[in-house]
């Protein structure tokens, strides 16, 4: 009995110590707001990860801060990884920053939950008219514009010019290149030593959804909870063509289908694949990492039956609806989105700026780099995709679409089974 009491006392001491530790106070989270001198400080959570982009953003913010002593902007550097989860807790806990950097496909769900300010009345009219309706569409929820679309990426083909020349293939120089041409070049450049095409499709959904627009394959119709899916021939055109190149023509490197885009670059540099389809941002990496004397070219934008269209899924800058300084935040973003600023950021990130004026500025800036001509050309066909309007898209993409596309690309299921999985999966998720 005495022994039990002793043990109980020890356990109680442990619990008490834990309780005491929990009561210790720390410093409260700093927030945006008004300083003692009346100046407003805006918190700007930036995800830019490239050092050159970070430097460009810092320069823009410093420029703003020196011109606007009453409205100071403070950069909070964060990373892309895990941002969605972080934002959920920030919004729920009421600690989200004033200005939020993200991407359209991920930010719209926060808008649907009412966390983002409607920026329609604050956007500079000149900027508004300088960005295509299709791109504005990608950041419009209901009738509210919930973000400034800044930079975009497209998918484009890069080729090893020497391997094309060896195969007697003429490098396409037109405004666009059809899927048939791509398949033809891939076939012509396939030899026992190397394949014609390497395509990193470990996470295939974004690519499939984007390029499907070139065949008028929208997948979704309607908005929000009412979005409906339709998986027909137009939607399946891209996966079917990739499948045909992989298993029919045998011109597409099967290993690459299980890799990320960046992983495939090693095979491209090593001459194991004659072409590779990558995000346009890889232009900078290829220029930097390709071996000495590696002769590469960027091919024209890939065109489907409906044109060289791709999904606009821009990086975005939104304003927290609970911010006490929505107007000032929007003013800063109007400045931030100025042509020269946006061109600077786009050049650093090797992405396509959303506004026409910024694209012109970038053309001048990158005039001596022929690959940039194709990057900018591929940006011409970017339009707001229907999937951005579907509330449960992200969940469907991660849990249904990605495994279904992966199985199809691994030749484990048929085209019909793929269509069924995509449709039934949406029905399960969207109810």
């Amino acid at each position: 009995m005495k022994r039990i009491r002793g043990i109980g006392a020890i356990a109680l001491a442990g619990v008490a110590a834990l309780a005491l530790t929990s009561c210790t106070q720390g410093s409260a989270t700093r927030g945006s707001g008004d300083g003692e001198d009346g100046a407003v400080t805006l918190q700007f959570q930036s995800l830019s990860d490239q050092p050159t982009t970070q430097a460009a953003i810092k320069k823009i913010v410093d420029g703003w801060n020196s011109e606007n002593p009453d409205v100071q902007v403070e950069i909070i550097q964060a990373g892309w990884d895990g941002t969605y989860d972080k934002l959920i807790t920030q919004f729920t806990g009421g600690t989200a920053p004033d200005i939020i950097h993200f991407e359209a496909s991920s930010i719209v769900s926060f808008a649907a939950d009412g966390y983002l300010a409607d920026l329609s009345e604050y956007i500079d009219p000149d900027l508004k008219s300088d960005i295509s309706e299709g791109i504005w569409d990608s950041v419009t929820v209901g009738d509210e514009i919930i973000a400034y679309p800044s930079t975009l990426q497209s998918y484009m083909a890069f080729a090893n010019a020497d391997l094309l020349e060896q195969a007697g293939v003429e490098i396409p120089t037109g405004d666009t290149m059809t899927w048939d041409e791509l398949a033809e070049i891939a076939r012509a450049t396939t030899t026992p030593e190397h394949k014609g095409l390497g395509w990193g499709l470990a996470s295939p959904t974004a690519t499939m959804m984007s390029l499907a627009l070139g065949f008028d394959g929208g997948y979704f119709s309607g908005e929000g909870d009412d979005a409906k899916i339709e998986v027909g021939d137009d939607e399946l055109a891209v996966p079917e063509r990739i499948h045909e190149m992989a298993y029919g023509d045998k011109s597409l490197d099967l290993t690459s289908l299980t890799q990320s885009g960046s992983d495939v670059l090693a095979s491209f540099y090593g001459g194991k694949v004659a072409m590779t389809v990558q995000g346009s941002f890889q232009v900078t990496n290829i220029a930097k990492d390709a071996p000495e004397g590696f002769n590469w070219v960027a091919l024209p934008p890939i065109e489907g039956s409906a044109g060289a269209l791709q999904a606009a899924n821009p990086q975005t800058y939104s304003v927290n609806v609970d911010s006490e300084h929505v107007e000032e935040s929007a003013e800063f973003l109007n400045y931030f989105m100025g042509a020269d600023n946006l061109a600077e950021i786009a050049y650093a990130d090797a992405l396509i700026p959303s506004s026409g004026e910024a694209r012109s500025a970038l053309e001048k800036k990158a005039a001596d780099n022929p690959a940039w001509t194709q990057v900018l050309a591929s940006g011409e066909g970017l339009e707001g995709p229907p999937f951005l309007k579907a509330d449960k898209y992200t969940e469907w993409k991660d849990t249904i679409a990605t495994p279904a596309f992966q199985q199809y690309l691994a030749d484990k299921i048929s085209k019909e089974q793929l269509a069924t999985q995509l449709s039934d999966g949406w029905a399960d998720i969207a109810g």
Binding site: R3, I4, G6, I7, G8, A9, I10, A11, A13, G14, A17, L18, T21, S22, C23, T24, Q25, G26, S27, A28, T29, R30, D49, Q50, P51, I76, Q77, A78, G79, W80, D81, G82, D85, K86, I88, T89, Q90, T92, G93, G94, T95, E103, Q153, S203, S260, G261, S262, L265, A266, S267, Y269, G270, G279, F281, N285, K288, D289, A290, P291, Q315
Partner: protein, 279 residues
Amino acid sequence: MTARRPWYATVLMYAALAFFLAFLGFPLVWLVSASFKSSQELNSLAVNLIPAQWDFSNYASALERQNLIPAAMNSLLVAVATMIITVLLSMPMAYALARLQGRLRAAGTIWILTSQVFPSILIIIPLFLLLRSISLNDTLLGLILVYVTFTMPFTLWMLQGYVAAIPVELEEAAEMDGANRITILRRVVLPLLAPGLVATAMFTFVSAWNEFFLALVLLQSPELYTLPIALRSFLGAEGQTQLGPLAAGAVLATIPSLIIFGILQKKLTGGMLAGAVKG
């Protein structure tokens, strides 16, 4: 008189040990190798363990760009504090859990097991709100408390196993000699529990040192970021990875862990209880 081990058994034993070491050590060796390679070499198909050209710029950019040193200090502070608090709190609780009989013990055991089944994503928002209500969100102290809470059940489970392995007869003998509960704990149990405490401390340290998700969500000020958060900033949008600086950062990140293990592993000696109780 024990029989001599045949020579081939010794050879086999060392061969197995060498294989095991190579198996465990290769990723680390590869990481070090990658950290000295240029981005061109990292993006080539060549598989060289020795870099063609030693490139130290990855370390420079890792240290300059992503605030690795302050992040490492934050991680060290959080991991060491978590380790100390967890071990100090777990020790008496584990003793009570191992030695108590009856319903209280059963309830304690059920609580420990139940607390292990909740994924952190499930409780992160309430946790965040709770910390905010006591002004501990976005503080290292808040993060330490959360880590203690998360590691405590498992460390308790681990430690109570070690306590249970200590023969109760030793405590009874000390009690017969007039020792009170505290003295028994301090003079008898604690010395015998040392290897268990070290193992628990190591586990806690590594858990806190490597944890990413909770730190990502609970810390908002860049100056408070821990090492895993700083390292993840080498991963960009669209799966872009700055492999060289990431490898260099990861190498630097393993050094404190290796030092801690180097210090603590000497204490991990078994067999302390052999012959303690005569049958």
